[in-house]
Amino acid sequence: MVSADNIAVDQWAGLSPEAVHLDADECDPYELTHQLKELARDNAQIAVENPRARHNLGIGLEMENCEVHFLGSVGYYCGGFNAGAKIIVHGNAGWGVGEAMSGGRIVVRGSTAWSAGAGMRGGTLVIHGDGGPRTGIAMKGGDIFVAGSVGFMSGFMAHKGKLVVLGGAGDGLGASMYEGRIFIAGRAGSLGADAIERDLDPADVEELKRDLALAEIAWPEGALRKIEAEGRLWYFDKHDGRIWRSI
């Protein structure tokens, strides 16, 4: 099992020699989730080999004492319903990584496809590459940090929580948010309906410095901007009829 290749991969992924290895080629998503829960009892690190962009890897995990490393790219919904585990994806992630997560930490070393962190209620999602469209859609809590850029409609209908983007964003950033907060360093194609730019206060800066240090993402060179909901869509007002009739 142990070969020169494996040792090189382990070092690259930051795995200790004691890490236990699982082969995703040899189990379906149900079996993999079951094995991860079993192995987490006595192991601090589990490395999953050959993820091969399969869907539904590492669903509904809650062990807080064990890291799960996927040694390659993962498909849809990796880490969905995560409730405490630390998951590291050494590759890219497909749609909905970390969707509905309520706790724990998911780190994607590469980029993510659509809807990363959709509907999440807690925990932290770190994306070292780019986030796709609709990153942080419908999020209700927790934090998302993206070192690169995000696609269109990111933060759409976000209720609460924080989306921090060090690059730029596509069109419709923060459309129809409630009480979520978006911080962005680069340029957004456009702000979405009811999204408004507000000044950062010193507390925001302190909070973000701590956050980014933890996420191992460098502080941006340019200034960060804060995007929030103005609240004009929270209540119907007939004087805003021209807005309402087309959105």
């Binding site: 509904g60 969707e99 309520s102 809807s115 509907g119 209620r121």
Partner: protein, 459 residues
């Protein structure tokens, strides 16, 4: 100002003019008083009207069908003595550990805490548990009281995903992926600010008292291929312990049902256009979706065409009022029916009590559709503590239990008259239609003929 604080002048008095028009008072069928009132309302409000309850127009219904009980060609069962089975199992298709085993083919449909008060939810749960059937959370997350009272609780996953996480997913006895509802197909939910009270706001992670307009498109899948992966995710998250329902409004039923079966639903719930709501743009109630009677026949045909009828379970909802409607839905192909409004009426909706409060809303018992105001006089569709108190859980639960029992007795009465020892043995051949429209939609012959309009097959 929130939506609900504005007056809705939608309750119009009974006609007073002479229908013959001899007194000179002739109402135009085009510009009738409701149409005129609607234009006046929009001119004042600057928006479409929002309303609760169901539609306000005549459509073909299950009511337009009749049973053909046994006479010379069939032998009836003794209606008052012989047994007729009602047990119903939903969701065994993918071998989950715990398919829903219901004692009757009737359950309480998805209605949210928020749209309904906590005690209405608790009473419905208690009644369903006493009967041996299930309830459904609806969109607003899983209410503690509802979970405690319901022995079998279907947890709804709507596009808004309120309160959806592992902790709550694991408490579900089934998961319902909601793709819309019959009252407002293709449009998300509405919860006027008056009902977004503290606890409702907290469960939905919303600012208090805002007019909530929910998402309609799911945030992390778009098409059928994504959805198949999504359903697998839900199964993995629950370790395939519980079945997965997929609820959709009745629109392109033949196609939609086939796709729902393909993506892996264990149970398909079709909500006809009669399906009611706590609040909806009024025009969607009247002008979108197809009637329940048409939906059930189309759904059955779709499953038969792909060879999955009987394997994928079919639940029908939308305007099911009594045992006759329910038995007809089963005869046309449903495994079970889900009731909403009928259950609320059993709770006390539109009961002739607290008349002054109905009057304050500009309505009266028998006419009230003011769920959207949050000022429900009987404490069901409200979050106002003094109104909520009016619904006493024990007594309300008993009324709903009585009602469902009565409804199931009606179903078995009809089934036994048709010679069936199991309500699920009712079949389309047991039905005839009273109108050409119903015959065409239900695919059963017009009474006294063997004619099914639009069908190459006659019986």
């Amino acid at each position: 100002m929130s939506m609900s604080e504005r007056s809705d002048r939608s309750n119009v008095g009974a006609p007073t003019s002479n229908p013959s028009g001899s007194d000179g008072m002739r109402e135009s069928p085009i510009w009738d008083r409701h149409t005129i009132d609607e234009i006046h309302s929009k001119a004042e409000l600057g928006r479409y009207r929002i309303s609760g309850f169901s539609l306000h127009r005549q459509i073909p219904r299950l009511d337009d069908l009749v049973f053909l009980p046994a006479a010379m060609t069939r032998l009836p069962l003794e209606g008052y003595r012989e047994h007729c089975e009602t047990k119903t199992v939903l969701g065994a298709r993918h071998g989950c550990a715990k398919p829903l085993e219901l004692s009757v083919p009737v359950y309480i449909t998805s209605m949210s805490f928020g749209a309904l008060s906590w005690n209405a939810k608790a009473a419905l749960g208690r009644a369903a548990s006493a009967i041996g059937t299930c309830t459904c959370t609806g969109e607003g997350g899983m209410l503690r009281e509802e979970r405690e009272e319901s022995s079998l609780l279907v947890y709804q996953m709507t596009p808004s995903r309120y309160m959806l996480d592992l902790e709550h997913l694991r408490q579900a006895d089934a998961i319902e992926v909601a793709m819309g509802q019959g009252a407002k197909p293709g449009t998300g939910g509405v919860l006027p600010g008056a009902k977004v009270a503290d606890r409702v706001a907290e469960m939905r992670t919303l600012p208090k008292n805002i007019d909530q307009r929910s998402a309609v498109r799911h945030p992390d899948f778009l098409g059928a291929d994504d959805m198949e992966v999504k359903l697998e995710e839900l199964r993995v998250a629950t370790n395939n312990q519980v079945p997965i329902f997929l609820k959709m409004p009745a629109t392109r039923v033949r196609e939609d049902v086939k796709i729902a079966a393909k993506v892996g639903a264990d149970v398909i719930v079709i909500d006809g256009m009669e399906g009611a709501t706590g609040a909806s743009p009024e025009l969607l109630l009247d002008h979108t979706g197809i009637p329940t009677v048409a939906a059930v026949a189309a759904a059955r045909e779709a499953l038969e065409e792909i060879g999955l009828y009987g394997e994928v379970n079919l639940v029908i909802s939308g305007g099911v009022r009594n045992g006759a409607d329910a038995a007809k839905a089963l005869a046309l192909g449903a495994d079970a029916v889900a009731i909403g409004t009928a259950g609320l009426i059993a709770l006390n909706c539109n009961a002739p009590i607290y008349l002054d409060d109905y009057a304050r809303l500009g309505t009266a018992p028998g006419f009230c559709h003011h769920c959207h105001t949050g000022l429900c006089p009987v404490g069901i569709a409200t979050q106002e503590p003094e109104l909520v108190e009016r619904l006493e859980v024990d007594a309300a639960a008993e009324r709903v239990e009585n009602f469902i029992n009565a409804m199931v007795m009606e179903m078995t009465l009809l089934a036994k008259a048709c010679g069936k020892g199991d309500v699920h043995n009712l079949e389309p051949e047991d039905l005839r239609a009273l109108t050409i429209e119903a015959a065409a939609m239900a695919r059963v012959p017009l009474a006294g003929t063997d004619w099914i309009p639009g069908s190459a097959n006659s019986w």
